[in-house]
Amino acid sequence: MDDNLGQPTSVPPKIHEEEGNDDFSGDEDEGPDWTKFKSFASSSKPSLPKRGDKEFEPSVTGPTDLQTFSLNRTRDAMFGALEGDRGISNKSVSYGVWYPTLARTEVTQQRGVLFNGLGHSAPRPVVTTGDNEGGKAKMHKRTELLPEEALYLIERGSLFCWKDSPAIPSDKDGDTMGEHEIRGSPMSVQQAYTEMIGKEDLTLDRYHAYAYLKRLGFHVLRANPPSPHYPVSLPMLTASKQPNFLARILSPFLDLLSRVKAFLFSRKIDWWRPVHFGWLLGCAPNYPSIYRALRIIPSGHNLPLHMPPPHPESPYEIFYHIYKPNTPFRKSAPPPPDFSLVVVNARTTILPTLDELTRLWSVLPETGPPVPRQKHHSKSQLSAKPPKSVPNHVAPSPEPLRFTHLLSWFRNREPQDNGPPPFKPHPFAVLKGGKKTVVIGVVDSGTVGFYRFGMGAFEEMPMI
């Protein structure tokens, strides 16, 4: 109890050594720590109690003087922190114009490091009027923002955005500062919301998830490029359409092949006596062989699913690719994503059915066994970070056989042998990690909760 009363840090308290540390969520759900905002307050305020236990428990007879005093002290600190003026520097603001028909914001003046992870360049025809008579349409590359990106920047205060209106000449040659004076006042946040939510598949739920992740520092890109100029991360390009096509052609043959294999290599089961103890004891007298003989219930996600395909209007489609904040990220050629995100509404959608989940997983690469968490964030180790989500095969085949799966784990482990000694993962960690993971963000009136649905493979790691 006493240890938590130190200064709040970003290091989470150690509960479990496991990956993800998603068990402890207490820190996140509490309110903000007003001590951090002290710098905004204009005048000096009394020192605040640090984060920790409750100040007091309410007593039966009513609040005592000390309790009222501490409560008022905390309230005053909050109001004091909120009173201060919040502003941004003139030199860090960017300027843009929103085109409703294109559903894009063109950034006329770009400032700041934010644009390293936002925006894409798109060529647009521009009619230049000037000395030439009869303007010629010329392709001019400019930075554009998707509606959610623009909305995020406006809310943050880093972008002044005007709505494009036909009355204003879109002349690129003029002085940018002068132009903005002509256009009138920039869009307010309310107007920006009204304009941008609803365009280009952006719903309020998706925007909430996007803004939440951006505020935490993640890079968030769309999974399905809304226009040809939008950058797409590499493995998705080849794996997008092919599995369905290949699967449809090859599935009858692969089914036949697996049935032949099963016929040749599996034993005939007498369904009234599934385990022949006499035969077993002769060959290998131990418990593992008994357990192996018992495995007769079909299991695994590779089995054919004899169900109709999911409804075409199902909301379960991968919408965003998420990259961790420290990944070296190039906008034009983004690396394979760390997570794939689906965003749904909590009240109007139910859990995904088995076929919807299978379809979500079918486009994702398999992740290898979990690696230990990097303790030191040095630059050299970041660049040589063992790629957790590097795809082992570019086009995932519909039915990977077990030994290729093992082989691909071998291949994934090779780069680790040069540095630290070969790491043997704990069987529970492997079981919990699963083979493929999709993140589903569930939005309930602005609050987002994320769940990882992992494809389990218990049959590949028996306990005995």
């Binding site: 004891l281 079981l431 994320f450 005995i464």
Partner: protein, 415 residues
């Protein structure tokens, strides 16, 4: 007969751990023991003798009761074998291991026995925790009173001092001095003390011989557990209970085909159950597919009702370590028509809401278990002929898939 889960940090606990390992050494009721080393030269080469081990099969006996949908093991020896080798079943008057007789004996002897049963350990721990909470509340009230007094005296920078372990320990010492005689000994409920048992000396032995209570407890196996023992391991014989004898005429042990049919009929809602046709979505079949799948992978499966789940998976058994996974069974119908015309209302047959998922996930996260949704596909009667239901061959048409559910906290996944 101890089921005390030891703390592995002390040497006494290490001894206990060894004892536990010895008692619960076998994962199945069947014992495999190697034969004596072969003496003839042919045996050395391995030409004629194939048998290298012998199998000990404890032929256990049980009674099938239709109304409770369970198989009762009355013989205490068989109960112990089935519990100790594989953790099958549950004592009808106990938490898990059938320990009711032991507890009654402890009550009568009224002395703190070294080997405490699990229920006694829990009762003792709860009493201690209650005492600790009282002491802590008193210590906190004292520190609050101190701060209030300081504030009233004019000190405005006072704050209620955070509670430290020493303060609580002080209060504990003070209160134990005061109320030593008042603290009830929860190991022995006073209501069950008999005058005869309070005396000492040779009278105690007489009391033991006279008053050894009859073991009113039996071990109760669920239908999937019982069928696993009967069918896969062949170590259980089942006699028909009274409720079953009303429906079928059976004097001797039930035959396997009858067991197969009756275990399914036990779930039929309409009486008499045998007249209804068998269907693929019978709860017995669906649960049995899941049970057999995890047993065959080496997990110990027990009921998960305590944690809002259907089953809990233990790596070796409940006495070794807490369960690692909580499994929720989600049956998936291949044909939607089967679900609509089904006489059973299978739980979770339609995907549930996010609030419910959030609830069960949060419950299991609090107890450090991972939630698994196990999807069992139920074959459609159009694709697979229902005549297969008369034998366990229909189990080859089910399939089990696991989905592992974990929360994703972006704030923690940044590196």
């Amino acid at each position: 007969m101890t089921t005390f889960i030891p703390d592995p940090s002390s040497s006494k606990a290490r001894g206990r751990q060894k004892e536990v390992n010895k008692i619960y050494a076998y994962p199945l009721p069947l014992l495999i023991s190697p034969l004596e080393p072969p003496r003839s030269w042919t045996a050395h080469i391995g030409l004629f003798s194939f048998r290298q081990a012998k199998l000990e099969n404890p032929q256990c006996e049980g009674i099938f009761d239709l109304h409770t949908r369970s198989v009762w093991i009355i013989n205490s020896e068989h109960s112990m074998i089935l519990w100790r080798r594989g953790f099958f079943g549950k004592g009808s008057l106990s938490r898990s291991e059938p320990s009711w007789l032991t507890r009654r004996i402890h009550e009568q002897q009224q002395r703190a026995s070294k080997a405490l049963t699990a229920e006694e350990v829990t009762a003792k721990r709860r009493a201690e925790r209650q005492r600790f909470k009282l002491d802590r509340a008193q210590a906190f009230a004292a520190s609050v009173a101190e701060a209030e007094a300081a504030f009233a005296a004019g000190d405005t920078s006072v704050r209620i001092a955070p509670l430290t372990r020493e303060a609580v320990a002080n209060f504990a010492a003070r209160s134990s001095d005061r109320s030593e005689t008042d603290t009830p000994d929860t190991v022995v409920p006073s209501s069950l003390q008999t005058p005869a048992a309070l005396s000492h000396g040779p009278v105690v032995e007489d009391a033991l011989e006279e008053e050894l209570p009859e073991d009113l407890e039996h071990l109760q196996l669920t239908l999937p557990e019982a069928f696993f023992l009967i069918w896969s391991l062949d170590c259980l014989r089942v006699l028909a209970g009274i409720s079953v004898l009303l429906l079928i005429n059976q004097d001797d042990a039930m035959k396997l085909s009858e067991i197969w049919t009756m275990f399914q009929c036990a779930h039929h809602p309409i009486q008499p159950p045998v007249s209804q046709p068998l269907t693929f979505d019978n709860p017995f079949l669906v649960h049995y597919a899941l049970y057999h799948h995890y047993r065959s992978l080496g997990w110990v499966i027990r009921s998960g009702i305590k944690f809002c789940a259907d089953y809990l998976l233990y790596k070796r058994g409940p006495v070794f370590h807490h369960a690692e996974f909580a499994v929720t069974l989600c049956p998936v119908y291949e044909d939607e028509q089967d679900r609509l015309t089904s006489p059973f209302n299978l739980n979770n047959a339609t995907p549930f809401s996010w609030t419910w998922l959030s609830t069960i996930n949060r419950v299991n996260t609090q107890v450090q278990k991972t939630l698994i949704l196990a999807y069992v596909t139920i074959p459609s009667s159009k694709r697979v002929s229902p005549t297969l239901l008369s034998s366990p061959a229909c189990l080859a048409h089910y399939s089990v898939r696991e989905v592992i559910l974990r929360r994703f906290v972006p704030a923690r996944m940044r590196d």
